[in-house]
Point group: C2
Chain length 294, copies 2
């Protein structure tokens, strides 16, 4: 038992955003103001908070931003039309439709309609394929990109390391696996999930353990090899009568018992979470650069 290194996502995100600000200034001096459009359909309170944060961060960096709030009953065709207009708008370099949209919207069709060169979430098939093909001109989904940045900036080598990812989603698990197994990272990567047999034993192999399942405090001390690096992508609300709000936020990792075993670990909140928005801004800058050099 020793004191693990806390991978401070809040501080790192602030540093990434400082870099973004400097680059924004340089681009603006060339006459290019990076522009991000965020589309929100409906009234989901959590989505409203996320969208507000993104728009505020744009303001802090000197981006042009556009917030488009649509009624919950907006039709698929109306939403597609909004996306098409943003595709055609030269002041907009990044387009993001806040997930999840209302149930009657076919989210995949909406994502496909976004110009892949403006798909700063990295969910368009074109960008998914670029991730598999290791083509750096594509956009990497923000959360796994943030995890990679946390590892990289802490000087944690992935080369030849055993990485285990719990979760196989399109948003985190699969892209994280592809990033870690790439020729740039060279990790040996295991993708585990709810159907895996003896998940604790699989996780105990990991030099780098990434938890992205959305189950509060699932990863216990006996799931973790002493000295491992633990990246906790989960953000779960659990009831807590001692809190004014009635709940507290917790990750997929039982932090109190796991942290003493680790060489490094991300806290929740303040770990992966803040990195996601920072990487979104980085992606938007990449889009602005790439679109304006065409």
């Amino acid at each position: 038992m020793s004191t693990p290194r806390i991978l401070d996502g809040k501080a790192l995100a602030a540093a990434v955003l400082d870099e973004c600000r400097a680059e924004t200034d340089a681009l603006t001096n060339q006459g290019i103001t990076p522009g991000l459009a965020v589309v929100l359909v409906g009234e989901d309170p959590a989505s409203k908070v996320y969208v507000a944060n993104k728009v505020r961060t744009c303001g802090e960096l000197g981006f042009h931003s556009r917030k488009i709030e649509l009624k919950a009953k907006t039709t698929q065709e109306e939403l597609l039309q909004v996306v098409r207009e943003l595709n055609a708008d030269s002041a907009i370099h990044g387009i993001l439709v806040q997930s999840p949209p209302p149930k009657h919207i076919d989210e995949e069709a909406i994502i496909r309609a976004i110009d892949p060169r403006k798909d700063v979430d990295g969910f368009h098939p074109e960008n998914v394929a670029k991730l598999v093909l290791e083509d750096p001109s594509g956009f990497v989904p923000c959360t796994p990109a943030g995890c990679m940045k946390l590892l990289e900036s802490a000087g944690i080598s992935t080369n030849g390391a055993e990485a285990v990812i719990i979760g196989r989603s399109m948003i985190v698990g699969k892209p994280m696996a592809l990033l870690l197994v790439s020729k740039k990272s060279n990790a040996t990567v295991t993708i585990a999930h709810s159907r895996s047999k003896d998940l604790p034993a699989i996780c105990r192999r990991a030099d780098i353990l990434v938890a992205a399942v959305g189950r509060p405090e699932m990863v216990k001390a006996d799931w973790v090899k002493p000295g491992a690096v633990v990246i906790d992508v989960g953000i779960n609300r659990v009831e807590d009568a001692s809190k004014k709000s009635g709940y507290r936020l917790t990750g997929d990792v039982a932090y109190q018992e796991v942290a003493p075993l680790c060489s490094a670990i991300t806290p929740v909140p303040g770990g992966v979470g803040p990195m996601t928005i920072a990487m979104l801004m980085k992606n938007t800058l990449q889009a602005a650069r790439q679109l304006s050099s065409m």
Copy 2:
């Protein structure tokens, strides 16, 4: 030590082709003759053999086929033009440009130019993304599709199994990992490669071991857990003075010493190899069905 089950790819490929023949007859009765175009640039002798086999198999199934042989000095633009014409040709449902093309050809750009609905090799970004997204309307690359078919037809369950894939290529390793980790297959999947530390120990975890590295007989007996299923994707030429040709074909697995340990194993030749062409024909039928129902 016991006698392993030999996963006979030659017999299974013949059965798959029988199914294809029946489906071809049914389609032809509806006025649709499946059509495959195979483009060969240059004079590579191995490529010539592959192309001839594909065209011959088309004939055996009652497909329409077109073999387009281009000179080695064909330009990128000339080749693109051929692809465009095939895209526009309603008698052609599948288009395949034999790999590798001459060095001056940008293969990725050629693949991108193929209509994804006719990309029966499954290498177009659109189909790569569909594989990640688990969208069955895409085309799965033929070799990993053949490996999955071998497992399936032998009744080998992947559900919760530990699968280890050696190799992270776009043609085999990555698509195989995506297939095995999908919600349909539910394996726990490890992707290992030349940079992995202690490859033998990683491979010994596998219930299903897939070798796709292209190194003759690399996988030895002490890499294999007793009772494992071994799929050998390698086809390597090694010098052999006792053969008239001066060489023999061998897989990535040291078959003689590994086979007695396995519950099931694919031979080389006669394992994965024959499945590849059978899955190409299946993909072409899928293309013919999908294009004619549009």
